[in-house]
């Protein structure tokens, strides 16, 4: 059975695309057939994070409007088998996506045997964001432990619960997962940043994982390789845990508190 996952947040710049790229890569590494769709019409970026920007010929809007077939538009990832990217269009026409068009693409992907269809939502609560979440079975809410991000996440949760297809048709509600990114355990310990438990309590969403703030995320996007592929990185380990938990594995949460630095480390850094 195919599952549609929306990665959303309300607020921009919290790590939706980074998370979409890493989670879809992780799911594909586990042997699933995955398609990740960039819903940010006009501001295409997932292709850059996935490192396939020079291979975009046709995009999501071309498929929706019947100018290209799905097969022509899907970009096959060069690193991980069974991973495909559907790029956003660069058009400035915000009405380029329609609900019927999106539904057709998702149904066609399901018929093609995709296990997971990951929808990378644009920021905001406008049409693009609403379309990205409309057909979702599960939602990954990406939040930073910061006031405006938490508030916007609460807003988007309200929309998930009221305006998705599942809500409108009175079906089982969308399963919600919280991914806390840019988490700084040191500042949490010193009371300068809300802890994961605070955010969970405020939003009443189950925690899927915490991604510690990491320099590797910028390095990864610089080189066009999802950060989950950087084996050494803590962010990668965090995303691997997130994928495992998403697939039902029980795993203890990591990166919640700061590592105690040994005296040697304190003296010589790193």
């Amino acid at each position: 059975m195919s599952k549609v996952i929306v990665v959303t947040s309300g607020k921009g710049g919290v790590g939706k695309t980074t998370t979409s790229a890493s989670i879809s890569t992780g799911l594909a590494q586990k042997g699933n057939k995955v398609c990740v769709i960039d819903f940010d019409v006009g501001l295409r970026n997932l292709d850059l994070i996935m490192g396939c920007e020079r291979r975009v010929v046709y995009d999501f809007v071309n498929v929706v409007q019947g100018e290209a077939s799905l097969k022509q538009a899907l970009i096959k990832d060069k690193r991980v088998p069974n991973l495909f990217i559907l790029a956003a269009s660069q058009t400035r026409d915000k009405d380029a996506l329609t609900q019927e068009g999106v539904e057709k693409v998702i149904e066609d992907l399901k018929a093609d045997g995709f296990d997971y269809i990951v929808c990378d939502s644009p920021a905001g609560i406008e049409k693009g964001a609403q379309l990205a979440l409309y057909f979702a079975d599960e939602a990954i809410i990406v939040t930073n432990p910061e006031v405006s991000s938490v508030r916007d996440s609460d807003r988007i949760l309200g929309i998930l619960q009221a305006k998705s297809r599942r809500a409108e048709q009175g079906e089982e509600p969308i399963i919600e997962h919280l991914v806390l990114t840019r988490y700084n355990p040191g500042r949490v310990d010193s009371g300068e940043m809300m802890a994961a438990d605070d955010v969970i309590e405020l939003l009443s969403v189950k925690l899927l994982g915490v991604v510690p703030e990491s320099e590797d995320v910028l390095n990864a996007s610089n080189s066009g390789e999802p950060v989950i592929m950087d084996e050494e990185s803590k962010a990668a380990q965090a995303y691997k845990d997130i994928v495992d938990r998403f697939l039902g594995e029980e795993k203890e949460h990591r990166f919640l508190t700061a590592e105690k630095k040994s005296l040697l480390k304190k003296l010589f850094g790193k």
């Binding site: 006031v147 009371g191 605070d198 405020l202």
Partner: protein, 84 residues
């Protein structure tokens, strides 16, 4: 005095706690607004018009909300009448 406060452990409130406290209040307020029925703004207008026929009131003085209390939905109207 400041020194005494410090010694007594009355240190500055941690900002993370402030963030959580502010969000708790804000989210509760925004959620109740979100749940409010669509007709509320229009009903508010009409109620105001009726009241304005009899007393002079400040349009912004009417607060109207729908809350849930003990399983009942309660429509609450709050209006301060002007001093005579």
């Amino acid at each position: 005095m400041a020194l005494l406060d410090y010694l007594l452990g009355q240190r500055k409130k941690k900002s993370a706690n402030q963030a959580k406290d502010r969000l708790q209040i804000l989210l509760a307020h925004e959620r109740s607004e979100r749940k409010a029925p669509d007709y509320l703004p229009k009903m508010r207008e009409e109620i105001l018009q009726v009241i304005a026929k009899y007393v002079e009131i400040d349009q912004n003085q009417l607060q109207i909300s729908i809350d849930e209390e003990n399983g009942f939905e309660v429509l609450e109207l709050n209006l301060v009448l002007p001093e005579k």
